[in-house]
Symmetry: C2
């Protein structure tokens, strides 16, 4: 055997992503991942400190983008925040379909752990922004339905091209979201989104 470290490391990561997306984090054993890679379970635990560290490394890119989106939202309010939240999350969900699928349904206990503790707060702020920071139940419910539904849709429609899926989701969100200010029409808000 004796492959290059980066090679095996990456293979394990890819295999874990595939298995997690199908059977979930809890529903996938280290043995399953090792079998898919073609190595032993001990090898998996040689490259990753434990199962949770494997998940953390798998989610890191998506979490980084989510963090960026959250940073952008801190300075925005009203319709601008709605627009950035909508386009930002749709883009993120489409790009990281597989990672989103992993987290689907494993929230309550998994996201309380240290590596993911702040995700819940970020997603709450995201939902708040999408609801136009309204405290009425209508917009808040709509925001949750859309965010959760988009995650599910991205996890399900794996065979649709990125841009087509993104366009359909954005159209849906724009139609479904109540603009926060009636007299202030929704506009693209071409904020410079440097990365």
């Amino acid at each position: 055997m004796a492959r290059a470290v980066s090679e095996t490391h990456g293979e394990i990561l890819a295999a874990a992503a595939r298995r997690f997306a199908v059977t979930g984090y809890r529903g996938t054993s280290l043995q399953d991942i090792a079998r898919e890679v073609g190595c032993s379970k001990a090898t998996v635990l040689y490259h990753f400190a434990n199962k949770e560290a494997l998940l953390a490394e798998l989610m890191a890119p998506a979490i980084a983008v989510l963090q960026d989106l959250d940073d952008q939202l801190t300075d925005l309010t009203g319709a601008a925040a709605q627009e950035v939240a909508a386009t930002g999350f749709v883009d993120l969900a489409v790009r990281f379909r597989r990672e989103i699928a992993v987290l689907r349904g494993e929230f309550p206990e998994l996201l309380c752990q240290p590596p993911f503790a702040h995700i819940q707060r970020i997603s709450e702020r995201l939902r708040d922004a999408l609801a136009g920071h309204s405290d009425r139940p209508g917009p808040r419910i709509a925001a949750l339905v859309l965010l959760a539904g988009i995650s599910e849709a991205c996890a399900e429609f794996v065979d649709i091209p990125d841009d087509e899926l993104r366009a359909a989701l954005l159209t849906l969100v724009r139609r479904a979201i109540e603009p926060v200010d009636a007299h202030l029409p929704r506009q693209p808000t071409t904020e410079d989104k440097d990365s």
Copy 2:
């Protein structure tokens, strides 16, 4: 101890519903349920043949209503099917919030078992009806987003009164769904959308 059979039976059912809704089916052990009831794990398995039977009995009422909704949809097309699917599913999701929460995220393996095998087909038909039986990706994606999002929202907003939640969800669905022309069933407006 020695409570009446129906009493303990119901208590186990209620405790299981509570635990499943929080930690999921796979994430809840029979020991957890027994601890919440205040009896032994063996007692749980005295009242229910196995863990899956416990889940099946828990979901039976919701599944029955879902089956009814599916039956109603078989004779409908176009806008009528959309309307019935929307109101029917929103009503179902609001009424069976806790049961919906259980199934959230445990789909791929759990719903393949005999007691739940037909749920997937029903939910596909439901999604199809909500999409106005269109084969364009836009409506189909929108239908999935809404169905999944509604499930998630009902599982999350446990403290909102039924009618308020139902009203908000129906408003959202009506705004988000593209109404299909009643006199033109399935108009192929897809003008070279392929990639």
